[in-house]
Amino acid sequence: MSSRVTRILTTSFVLAVVLLPIYWLVSTSLKSNREITQEGTLYPHVPTLDNYVRLFTEKQFGSYLANSLVVTFFSVAIALVVGAMGAYAIARFRLPFAMERKVGLFLLTLRIIPPVVILIPVYLLMLSLGLLDTWLGLIATYTAFNVTFCVWMMESFFREIPVDLEEAAMVDGDSRFGAFRRITLPLAAPGLAATAIFAVLVTFNEFLFALALTATPRAMTMPRGTATLIGRIDTDWASMAAAGVIGALPIVFFALLVQRHLVRGLTMGAVK
């Protein structure tokens, strides 16, 4: 009996610790600035959606959202195609000088280096190419980051698929690439999904490079646009909270939808 009580208490405590901050964000987003700073209420006494309306009418959050969706879509899609091919080559072929293994190790090493390390040269590169504050600049940067871990993640998924199936297809007249496309790729679909989900999450949430590489609503992503609301002297708490909700909603919804794949992606590698 007592262990059951402990269990219920622990579960409620953890739930409260996780959900209370989120409750406060949502509740603040429904208050007026006057209610927030002067009355200090614990829940919205006069709930209003004004803060949300303001984000889209006065603060260009529509553009931020559109930019985020475009940039995330293209950088994940390109990285998946390119990464799947690379991963397959590393998983299946034995090249002279163990080249494929060296390439794999090299990509993994690049993945370990914190992105902030190449922030300055990437900024200088985009500056010289005239790609600052454009979709293309962001897409190129995010695609490169995504490729390093798409290759690494998908390689292990391809290894799990028996090679015999491809051989059979080739005996039946498929080319090497045809066997990859028609046999291996569909079998690796769950792995591809896990990889894609993880890439979407990381790309949609990225802030540092968006901060350095974009400056106007032309290319600013959601996290970058949200940060513009945070001035030196914070007064507009209500907009900030609403921006937080709008920024978090799509990605939390997405994550809960694909929860199972997500957990697989997050924990893999660590346990293997």
């Binding site: 579960t11 953890v14 739930l15 996780v18 209370l20 901050p21 406060w24 964000l25 700073t37 200090g40 614990l42 990464g83 091919m85 690379g86 299946r92 072929f93 034995r94 090249l95 494929e100 390439v103 690049l110 370990i112 280096i113 914190p114 992105p115 902030v116 390390v117 190449i118 922030l119 300055i120 040269p121 990437v122 200088l124 940067t141 695609t143 490169a144 490729v147 090679v163 051989e167 080319s175 090497r176 690439f177 999450l201 802030f207 540092l208 996290p223 949200t226 914070d234 900030m240 909270a241 937080g244 920024g247 990605i251 939390v252 997500l262 957990v263 997050l266 924990t267 660590a270 346990v271």
Partner: protein, 301 residues
């Protein structure tokens, strides 16, 4: 080309274009990575040996930028703050995550809900996580102040006080990343073999003995990997600090990434900032490789 020692993959030999296939498949990915990651890495190395004015190089200064780092009190402070932040956050996360994973190993009602809810903190955009905690800490509009006032107290000062702001940042990181630690460790616990635990139960071993003699030793490799992953990640923390405190008050929460960013983009010292980031990159790679070596030793024993 047939011998018993060759990998089974070798059996798949096509003809013609198929021989070039591996190279063709690797090429697009490598091209992107070389262009957008490796070239900048090389360019960053070059930039770190130069002095810049208004974003263009004006002089070669050799290793001077690197030498200067070690007599720069602000750099040394940022390094120290980062080490403190990483050590404190990651160890708290490891302990809490492990405890929670052990707790959730037994199936009971409510556990699905718990696992689902725990996903939320780590998927929310880090910028939004920082906003959430600003709304908690703010002395005029924050949750803590509102709670304190509801109970008859006064405003709570978190972000204006050095120690409180630093602890506040650690609390943010623990809230955001304990769930990842938890998920990795739970997956690790679930993949442990059952037999030793059944044998221990038959022998009548107590819960603590089972943990100390079986669970913990068997979980050591997974625990080590989880800690290494989090440590590397925490070293590059930027977004949350940028939004929560901007490094302040004073230099109390100025992590190395924030200092580097300010050096480059606020103070326009491009070459010096490049040297700083090259140093950070080397430190993290060094950490990672010694961790890998350590893990291999654990695996071997």
């Amino acid at each position: 080309m047939k011998s018993a020692t060759q990998a089974p993959q070798y059996r798949l030999q096509g003809a013609g274009l198929d021989l070039a296939l591996p190279y063709l498949m690797l090429a697009p990915g490598l091209t992107i990575v070389l262009g957008v990651l490796v070239y900048p890495l090389w360019d960053g190395l070059r930039a770190s040996t130069r002095a810049y004015r208004y974003g263009s190089p004006v002089a070669d200064v050799g290793i001077q930028n690197y030498v200067r780092l070690w007599s720069d009190a602000q750099f040394l402070n940022a390094l120290w703050v980062t080490v403190k932040f990483v050590a404190l956050s990651v160890s708290v996360e490891a302990v809490l995550g492990f405890a929670l994973a052990l707790f959730c190993l037994r199936e009971f009602r409510g556990i699905r809900l718990l696992r689902t809810v725990l996903i939320i903190p780590m998927v929310i955009t880090p910028v939004v996580v920082a906003i959430v905690f600003r709304l908690i800490y703010a002395s005029d509009a924050g949750m803590l102040t509102a709670l304190s006032e509801a109970m008859g107290g006064g405003a709570v000062q978190i972000l204006g006080n050095s120690l409180n702001a630093f602890i506040g940042l650690v609390v943010l990181d623990v809230w955001e990343w304990t769930p990842l630690m938890f998920l990795i460790l739970l997956a690790g616990l679930q993949s442990l073999p059952h037999e030793p635990f059944e044998a221990a139960r038959v022998d009548g071993a107590g819960a603590w003995r089972v943990f100390a003699d079986l669970t913990f030793p068997m979980m050591r490799p997974v625990l080590a990997v989880a800690i290494v992953l989090r440590t590397i990640d925490a070293f590059g923390t930027f977004d949350q600090v940028f939004v929560l405190t901007r490094g302040g008050p004073g230099e109390a929460t100025r992590l190395i990434s924030i200092y580097g960013y300010d050096t480059a983009f606020k103070f326009q010292q491009t070459g010096y900032a490049a040297a700083l980031f090259v140093t950070v990159g080397l430190v993290v790679l060094g950490l990672a490789f010694s961790a890998i070596r350590l893990l291999r030793r654990i695996d071997a024993s």
